[in-house]
Symmetry: C2
Subunit: 135 residues, 2 copies
DNA sequence: ATCCTTAATAGTAATCATTATCGTTATTGT
DNA sequence: ACAATAACGATAATGATTACTATTAAGGAT
């Protein structure tokens, strides 16, 4: 199936650059401000295809809609449990640590590790400041 | 809200012991074989409450329904991308490796890590044997 | 520049997982 | 036994996502 040029797909790319780990509906809302005639289905279809093609990443968070990331470099995500903000780890998350972890998992399970999905939860800097006053 | 005895909840506990990381509907089907009058809503409600209470774990896999784990010990999960089988890591997944990883993430993001969700993908032993014949 | 094939779209229906509602049932303390 | 209300079954509702269908529009061939 040969890919054709699509203005909508480019708008979606632009939205991904502009927004921070947006959901499909974030992207939809963003584009709709300028071009109210885009369809939510189009957003979902394009995001899914782009993720399928490896052009973007799909992040599945528990209990909330999937999010998408234009950054396909090897990196991971952290979620602030206070404000919900999602941050990227720098892409050089110590490769040795990760491969040691893979080896440990392999030793423990017998499964040959091909990839991993890591998500960290905690308190971000901003919320730490905000919270230090109260409690 | 004081918890009362519930025969259905005990059936759900039993199903969790019997089945391997089941979804809510796996549990429902399992119990229904013996007690066809159980309601799917009851299964969902109990599983959610038990997970909320920390009696069991809720695992959210991407693109598939949540799964539940009676084992609340500190451990992680690996998924075989061939057969879909979910395996537990032994619970002693080198605490030092994990805390080193936390520190690396903290250094990279500024977020103070409180917990993590780790999922590994790969090929399990059985599928490795099966596959070694072909290709 | 026009024609053809079919990718892409808008609009909407359908599906899937999950939660909420509500009238009834059943546990447990009095 | 009785009253208060947790738990239940049945089913409606919600939210996220995918599927369907008729229409539009890339872009290569004529």
């Amino acid at each position: 199936m040969v890919k054709r040029f699509s203005a909508k797909r480019n708008m979606i790319r632009e939205a991904l650059l502009e927004l921070d780990h947006p959901t499909a509906s974030d992207v939809y809302d963003y584009i709709r401000k300028e071009y109210p005639n885009i369809s939510l289905g189009t957003v979902y279809r394009n995001l899914s295809e782009m993720a399928e093609d490896g052009e973007i990443l799909r992040l599945s968070m528990s209990n909330s809609p999937d999010r998408f990331d234009f950054n396909t470099e090897d990196h991971y995500h952290v979620v602030c449990t206070e404000c919900g903000h999602i941050l990227d780890t720098g892409e050089g998350l110590d490769a040795k640590l990760l491969s040691d972890l893979d080896r440990a998992v392999e030793a423990s399970t017998g499964l040959f590790v091909k990839s991993r999905y890591l998500l960290f939860y905690g308190i971000c800097r901003e919320c730490m400041k905000k919270d230090s006053g109260k409690e």
